[in-house]
Symmetry: C2
Subunit: 361 residues, 2 copies
């Protein structure tokens, strides 16, 4: 078993990565926390596939589900209304400040469930059991929680580090092809910005990645979690270096918000990375190699670099609500070379508009 | 000017306490944060009295209000619905992660405004300008944020330390008599649990306290803020010693939640302290001196020790959702002697029921 230890904002917790780890969640929980009752928040589709195994694992380790809430799949569930329904379920079940909330699902369920857990009784322990590529390589680690608001991604949220993360790469085998492919965009993001050696491996082993080879997947998840642990260890609250992980997310979130659930997060991030590299190259900041290798790999992985038919005005409106905006100025994460990225405060508005036009035409 | 420095959870911030400090908020803000735009969330009644002075102080120090939101007075404003309307106002005004939210008002506005600020863009800076006794001596310091949910006080919230607190004891002179009196319960709470010398002064100077003598008030606010700073410095997240500040709040919150805005927070806390001392005495934990002096002082300050006409079943239901509950067991903060309190895990259910009956009959 691979275990990556994360330290951030005074918290410390293990991320266990192993094929078959789903059946060990109960045991890991017993090793980490005291108690007998746990609440479960699960993506309804995932619960149909893997719920019984999670339930059995908890039971065998002496944990009773105080409440089990299924959440409809899809971005629309990342809402304050859905958070309210979790609050009501937690209150009804007598969830207390020592009751862990175990979250089974992808980024949507993870962000929503962790937001509700972070704000119930001012915070109860969170256990993430991520079941998608995005969640395993990125969103389950680092303590960001969020719901969307008024068509803007992640406008509402807070930081709340989990107590435990259990990533089982085997679970990725049942993802729909579109969902699996979309998630690979986050792997490419981490490879481009932080892990040149992972980028080389992905380029070499595109076929194995697309075939979901367990060895390649486990290695990729581990490399991404290690990279993320380093970054959030230095900057939990997204004040400086953590912004690197936002590469591709400026235009990406704005696009995704406009499409309101019809576009996958990773699909939007792939397009956002294309836009960022294009902007960076025009500014003379980004080496041409970055865009060439990044766009080439994304394309070979089956990801698109543009979203024709998107309203560019709507995307521009959303850009103004990006969390990196400061004094009404949109700031971009730009790569300098492979393995090096930084927040760039001086991107001319005209260039941003051109980039948005380029990817929405 | 008195300044108390608070350190909690990696944050550090000053609490300025001075008669007339309202006119210096803009300057303090300029000394603490960079920027030009601030959002303001104000209790509507307080804004009528003190809004123009706050606005002038901000303007003279070079700050423009990006948005000014008035919140109706009263506990009903501490709702998720009201938080939503703040999110919408912040988004509309282009509040970014560097835009401070200045909060003018009492505990309700402070808890609500800080919750919205803590969860907007995963947290923007908060400046508390508390205008009630409860807010100046207790709720504006320490980073607790909250809204109520389904009749349960503070069920939803998170920790988010302010960047700056400015307490002007002069503002207490315009409080309605009932509101002023209610707030004194929190002063007595801190005196009983943490500051024996403050208790003696209050007992000696009841008349001056009731006449709102500026010297006594400034000294009381400072003593309370110092006590609170010590406690939250040792335990930001309410894991152990901070629970002392919850003295009187177990039965208090349950009562207040049942009355849904018809009972002041401090009125409920006074009754809750009476219940806690009564329970503690029966268990042989609390010295009889505690209840005698505490109840005597509360009564001289015009506070009641019971709330006849309350439904004891409703109060008991709310008790189960207290944040100190663990494994369905209600835990009380009990004082041992003046200046010493602790969480007590083993209070028999029958004794809790008797205490609730005693204060609701």
């Amino acid at each position: 078993m691979e275990t990556v230890d994360v330290r951030a904002g005074g918290a410390a917790y293990p991320v266990h990565i192993e094929a078959g780890a789903l059946d060990r969640v109960g045991g890991f929980l017993r090793d980490t926390l005291e108690g007998k009752r746990a609440a479960v928040v699960a993506d309804a589709r995932v619960a149909g596939l893997y719920g019984p195994r999670l339930r059995r694992s908890l039971r065998e380790a002496g944990w009773t589900p105080a409440v089990w809430v299924d959440v409809p799949p899809g971005e629309r569930s990342k809402s304050l209304a859905r958070a309210r329904s979790l609050y009501a379920a937690f209150a009804e079940a007598g969830v207390d400040r020592w009751t862990p909330v175990v979250i089974l699902g992808g980024g949507v369920t993870g962000d929503l469930g962790a937001f509700a857990a972070a704000t119930f009784l001012r915070g109860v322990p969170v256990v993430q059991v991520p079941t998608t590529v995005v969640a395993q390589v990125d969103s389950s680690v680092g303590g960001k929680t969020a719901v969307d608001f008024d068509g803007v991604k992640n406008l509402i949220g807070c930081f709340h580090q989990p107590a435990l993360v259990v990533a089982d790469p085997d679970l990725l085998s049942t993802l729909a092809p579109r969902e699996y492919r979309a998630g690979l965009a986050e792997v490419v993001k981490i490879a481009i910005t932080l892990r040149p050696e992972l980028l080389e491996r992905l380029e070499r082993e595109v076929e194995a990645v697309l075939e979901r080879d367990p060895g390649v997947l486990t290695a990729a998840v581990r490399a991404c979690v290690e990279a993320k642990a380093e970054v959030v260890g230095r900057d939990e609250r997204d004040r400086d270096v953590r912004a690197i992980l936002n590469y591709g997310h400026t235009v990406g979130h704005a696009l995704e918000g406009w499409h309101r659930g019809r576009m996958r997060h990773g699909e939007a991030v792939a397009i956002g990375m294309h836009a960022a590299a294009w902007i960076g190259e025009r500014l003379g900041v980004t080496l041409p190699e970055v865009g060439r290798r990044q766009d080439g790999l994304l394309t070979r992985l089956g990801l698109k670099l543009r979203a024709p038919g998107t309203d560019n005005q709507g995307v521009s409106r959303n850009l103004k609500l990006d969390k990196k905006v400061r004094d009404r100025r949109i700031r971009f994460v730009l790569t300098l070379q492979i393995g090096g990225a930084s927040v760039w405060p001086h991107v001319p508005g005209g260039l941003v508009r051109d980039a948005v036009l380029r990817v929405t035409r």
